[in-house]
Symmetry: C2
DNA sequence: CCTAAATTTTACCAATACTAAAATTGGGGG
DNA sequence: CCCCCAATTTTAGTATTGGTAAAATTTAGG
């Protein structure tokens, strides 16, 4: 509609934000590398890098990966990033989600804005509660606010006390267990779309089940 | 070296993990969509989607974006994801980073594994401490553990008490200020490479300054 | 200014992203 | 069992565009 370059039009999430090329250039400058250095490192030509950085061409995924490698960053760094309103939650006025009457409940901290990947909730685990082992895309972190829990990640079994934290890739099969007689409160952050919203474009919103199913 | 498909070889981060295609298929199944539905939605051909999902072809970034859109997900969802050892930190034995003697200090919670984007630290802000306003790629979340701080995100000024949280895109200019007479403890999570490590491949590691510079 | 490094531009080619259509699989019924 | 339909895979083939090499331009010193 407007006259942005093809690359810009293609890549960005719909919101106006820094396009791929700009970020690559910014990152290269940050490391004070020359086009040639990047090109050589990535096995590509100098001119091409120039084109990409100015949004005249869209690199293939493999090329982008190479370039990202030289820039010592992850591919995802350069793809559409969030933008939106910040979301405040007060400890006394948060939406609470009770998944099953068995008393496990969530307080949602983060919200969803276009491109957001961060998801945080406060989880209240009643004494004895045990979650099904699950694995999924992303990574996550637990920080124990109150009480203690036992966390199993694949073969490691760890007891976390208040103030302890753990960080791991969510693909590793994991489950948690409140082995104590006291309720435990955990701050849980993950990079996934736990609540099943975050529509990339507005399609039929309802009926999509979240991934937080401690299903059968 | 081995005989994985070209696509697999190209995309993955070096670690063995689910390649792009597998994830796309998994996601499609999750939404119980047909190849045709995805193809139509994305404006691509059925056969092509099939090829992509089986790793016979690598889609262009634009195509991938379209497909991701139909799958109601962010592009990054399907690109290399973390894998590694989980990292435990005990509240009494964490590495502490003191940035300037002015007494601001960090306890690092998360570690870095290939592809990880999650970064969490506990920040101790002494009374009166004020950080420089910064903006950068990514998104972040503050959760106040003790005390209170004033957080400014662009034009919004918010006072956060213990237990409160805020979540916003890091591109929005932000700074924090401990306006109280007590030290404040904040759990800070962001999707960026705060500590400046996370080498995608092992290049010269040293000398790269972190981004947490409250520099002049 | 003169030179050399860094970047941009141009012209061109070949790899491959993508298509269209035919071949295969896989259920359910009747 | 066989027909039918939906879903997926396979096969050829083309056109796009990702990518190159080299010349043109800019930038920065000395």
């Amino acid at each position: 509609m407007t006259n942005q370059t093809a690359a810009e039009a293609i890549i960005d999430t719909g919101k106006t934000e820094d396009p791929l090329g700009k970020r690559l250039r910014a990152r290269r400058r940050e490391l004070s590398l020359t086009l040639k250095e990047v090109a050589d490192g990535a096995g590509l030509s100098v001119g091409f890098i120039s084109q990409v950085e100015r949004g005249l061409t869209v690199p293939s995924l493999s090329s982008l990966a190479s370039i990202a490698g030289v820039l010592d960053s992850h591919v995802t760094t350069f793809l559409a990033q969030p933008e939106g309103k910040s979301q405040l939650t007060r400890h006394n006025e948060r939406p609470i989600y009770a998944v099953d009457k068995a008393a496990l409940s969530y307080e949602r901290l983060s919200t969803t804005f276009p491109g957001s990947v961060l998801n945080s909730v406060i989880v209240h685990e009643p004494p004895g509660y045990r979650s099904e082992p699950i694995q999924h895309v992303g990574e996550e972190m637990f920080f124990v606010l109150q009480g203690a829990i036992t966390l199993e990640v694949e073969d490691e079994t760890t007891v976390l006390q208040a103030g302890d934290s753990i960080h791991f890739a969510s693909m590793r099969r994991h489950s948690s267990w409140n082995h104590t007689a006291e309720p435990a409160t955990i701050l849980h952050v993950c990079t996934m779309d736990v609540f099943g919203d975050n529509p990339q474009q507005n399609q039929e919103p309802g009926n999509r089940a979240g991934h937080l199913n401690h299903h059968k």
